[in-house]
């Protein structure tokens, strides 16, 4: 057993870190990027692709250069570190995973995504389905050889600027059935789109559509498997992202404790606060470890893989909240201002718990996959 990155991966990490850092330090904060028309910077997305950040998410079996748990972890930790708003999660992880797990996928489609020439979004959640995996009310209607979708998809990350949307829709069974739904590709231009920024400064959209043409990617048990793979890939990537954001919060807070003076000394000299920082540190190390375990078993059998991802997502949900809340508290008033960048990291940490299943959801999944 060892926990070190290979030389190659170290280089990947360093070059990505440099690129993201150079780009994002041009802005006051990531809202400046996400409040643009597209919600992210298209040119920069291209640059990310050029240095291989996207192909790092795809396995060599599909023309990529990575795709292992470790690769995804490295990339997403950096995304958390720099609060990257480009569509790594939507087009990168969610769409790619759902495509790879569909039948008969042409690698040319994946090439288009990894070369940044096409952007895909993934639409599964509906407005009141919360984190239920197979609660799908959007309808798929098969007519002759064609299929048409009617319904609404909610909180679709980058859904307003994607070229294509991959979404779930049901053609039979009740709303919760594991069977009777499929994954379909639809065209954004057919949808009625309401786009908005999320509270943590990312772009999402509500998509409404009625009897629009769709392309079937897979259905029934294939679709169920592809959906689970996709949701778990997302949960895993977000867990790694959370680690990057936690680390920044910790560093900012430590720095502040050393420089902010009250009662004639740095507030970091108060033991009460030192202990709080140690508690935060313990939780970050715990969360990191859980994410590493999930990365290490990303290619294992599904039960092991899902169990460890659920453990990680549960843990980052809990520790992310602790880190966000403690780092704000230990800063005092300054952390409550828009100007001071900490809140953006704190918000991301909290909102990660609202994506791909919260800590309660993954606690239950952990129990399920551990055969409790």
């Amino acid at each position: 057993m060892h926990f070190n990155l290979s030389e190659e991966r170290k280089m990947l990490k360093e070059s990505c870190d440099r690129l993201l850092n150079d780009h994002y330090t041009q802005y006051k904060n990531h809202h400046e990027v996400s409040s643009s028309e597209t919600g992210f910077n298209k040119k920069f997305w291209q640059e990310c692709s050029e240095i291989g950040m996207l192909s790092a998410l795809i396995s060599p079996n599909f023309n990529g250069l990575g795709g292992t748990g470790e690769d995804i972890m490295i990339v997403f930790e950096l995304i958390g570190k720099h609060l990257v708003v480009e569509p790594f999660l939507s087009s990168g992880i969610l769409s790619i995973t759902s495509l790879i797990n569909s039948k008969d996928i042409e690698t040319s489609v994946l090439d288009e995504i990894s070369s940044a020439s096409k952007i895909y979004a993934f639409g599964h959640s509906e407005v009141d389905t919360r984190y239920d995996e197979t609660y799908i009310k959007t309808k798929a209607n098969y007519k002759n050889d064609a299929v048409f979708l009617t319904g609404q998809k909610s909180f679709v990350l980058n859904g307003d600027f994607a070229d294509k949307i991959i979404c779930t829709a049901r053609f039979s069974g009740n709303d919760f059935d594991q069977n009777g739904f499929g994954l379909y590709e639809i065209d954004k231009t057919h949808c009625d789109i309401r786009s908005y920024n999320t509270i943590d400064g990312y772009r999402a959209a509500e998509l409404k559509f009625s009897e629009i043409p769709a392309k079937e990617l897979c259905k029934n048990s294939d679709a169920y498997n592809a959906l689970l793979e996709t949701l778990y890939a997302g949960a895993f990537a977000l867990s790694a992202e959370s680690i990057g954001a936690m680390q920044v919060c910790f560093n900012m807070t430590l720095e502040y404790l050393k420089t902010r003076e009250q009662f004639g000394k740095p507030i970091g000299s108060f033991q009460a606060l030192q202990h709080r920082m140690v508690d935060v540190m313990i939780e970050i190390e715990q969360a990191k470890s859980a994410v590493m375990l999930a990365a290490g078993t990303y290619e294992a059998d599904k039960d092991t893989k899902y169990k460890n991802i659920s453990a990680a997502k549960n843990l980052v949900g809990r520790s992310g909240k602790l880190v966000a809340e403690e780092c704000i508290q230990l800063h005092g008033g300054i952390a409550m201002t828009w100007e001071y960048n900490l809140h953006n990291y704190a918000k991301r940490l909290i909102m990660i718990d609202h994506l791909m299943g919260d800590s309660d959801h993954h606690l239950e999944k952990f129990k399920l996959y551990s055969n409790y």
């Binding site: 919760f176 920024n197 009250q262 009460a272 409550m336 201002t337 609202h354």
Partner: protein
């Protein structure tokens, strides 16, 4: 021990309810319930109505135009106005400056200022904190130099809540630097319209403007605006802490928030079952309710011991800490309950009259925002850490 309200108290509650249903405008309570931005008029409309009824100065004695209510009555009143969705009664003049004026102000000051607070002629802001002086307030640097019949004040105050609406600010200023910091502070009443004062907005993490910086440059403050004696300001500022602070735990707010949480948990489904029936989630609500009920009794105990004359300093600190935790935990569960519906942020939703379709149910819009901004509750008014220091120091004597 008796946990029941008397018939008189129940009648009193009904009287408050009836009055609110007639005098609190639907327009304002709607805004409050939707967490929409309130302007100066919204606050004043309600406060003026209370004032006309004689119910504005809840904590003041009758001789100064207060209600003279018992603590139980105050408690009932606070509960009902929160339930009704009233804007908060701006506390700076009424609950902070008022009692200090009554205790330490001279006759002219009392005669001039108290009625103006009561009639909402003045909007006061609290000018204590400075960029370099938060928890360590006594280290403040804003300086007032004696210049005959007036002081010349220079410095900067910060975090001034609702200072954008204020025409007056009470400030702690340094009048003597050659002594223990606490002994060189004075309490000045300052016109915000004075030459040399500039109020600049601070935008908080929720994107809103509620706090401000107040810059003072060569501001002339007449000597008659000194409250009490020069260099005794610290005593006056501390008087506030020992003065009754029945509302500090925010029991009514937490009660109404937990009710809201239960309503939402009933309307939200997890795997086809209402969230309120989910063992994991409902246990968290139940624990919160247990905590709150206990704190409510704790609060009443503190109030009643205050009535027998003992200043509840320690209790106030404990209640402030627990109150903030319960408030924050409730907002935490509220945003958690709605899952991904917490994601969208539509700023216009918080403007009066916004009538577009919401994303998800209408109640979802403000919940994440509320969660984040309520982090302030454990920071302002003496952070929870400082409250713990106060208790440990005053109680344990170790």
């Amino acid at each position: 021990m008796d946990f029941n309200f008397t018939q008189n108290e129940n009648d009193f509650r009904q009287e408050i309810k009836d009055w609110l249903s007639e005098n609190l405008s639907q327009r304002i309570s709607n805004k409050v319930k939707k967490f929409q931005r309130l302007d100066k008029n919204d606050y004043e409309e309600f406060m003026k109505a209370l004032s006309a009824k004689g119910w504005l100065a809840v904590n003041w004695p009758k001789e100064h135009g207060g209600t003279g209510w018992s603590n139980t009555q105050k408690h009932i009143f606070e509960e009902e106005i929160v339930k009704a969705g009233a804007p908060r009664i701006v506390p700076f003049g009424l609950n902070m400056l008022g009692p200090v004026l009554m205790e330490f102000g001279n006759e002219e000051q009392k005669k001039y200022y108290l009625p103006r607070i009561l009639n909402c002629d003045d909007w006061w802001a609290q000018g204590y904190s400075e960029p370099g002086s938060g928890s360590d307030l006594a280290s403040l640097k804003t300086k007032a130099v004696d210049n005959g019949d007036h002081y010349i004040v220079n410095g900067q105050k910060t975090w001034t809540t609702l200072g954008q609406f204020a025409n007056k600010i009470f400030c702690l200023v340094k009048t003597d630097s050659n002594c223990k910091p606490q002994n060189g502070i004075s309490f000045l009443l300052i016109d915000i319209d004075s030459h040399g004062i500039e109020v600049r907005p601070i935008i908080t993490l929720d994107g809103e403007h509620e706090v401000n910086e107040v810059w003072l440059k060569d501001v002339k403050v007449p000597k008659e605006n000194l409250l009490g004696e020069e260099n005794k300001g610290w005593t006056y500022a501390k008087y506030l802490l020992t003065h009754e602070r029945t509302g500090i735990a925010g029991v009514p707010n937490s009660k109404s928030a937990i009710n809201h949480l239960k309503v939402i948990a009933n309307k939200t489904y997890k795997n086809g079952i209402p969230l309120i029936q989910d063992p994991l989630f409902s246990s968290q609500i139940a624990e919160l309710e247990i905590d709150l009920k206990a704190m409510e009794i704790f609060n009443l105990r503190a109030i009643s011991s205050a009535e027998s004359g003992k200043a509840p300093v320690m209790e106030s600190s404990l209640l402030k800490i627990k109150g903030s935790i319960i408030r924050q935990k409730t907002s935490d569960l509220l945003r958690k309950a709605i899952g991904p519906q917490a994601l969208p942020y539509i700023s216009e939703q918080f403007d009066e009259g916004w009538n577009q379709e919401t994303i998800g149910p209408e109640y979802a819009g403000p919940l994440a925002k509320q969660y984040f901004i309520y982090r302030k509750i454990s920071i302002y008014g003496g952070s929870n850490e400082i409250q713990k220091n106060i208790v440990a120091k005053s109680e344990f004597r170790m």
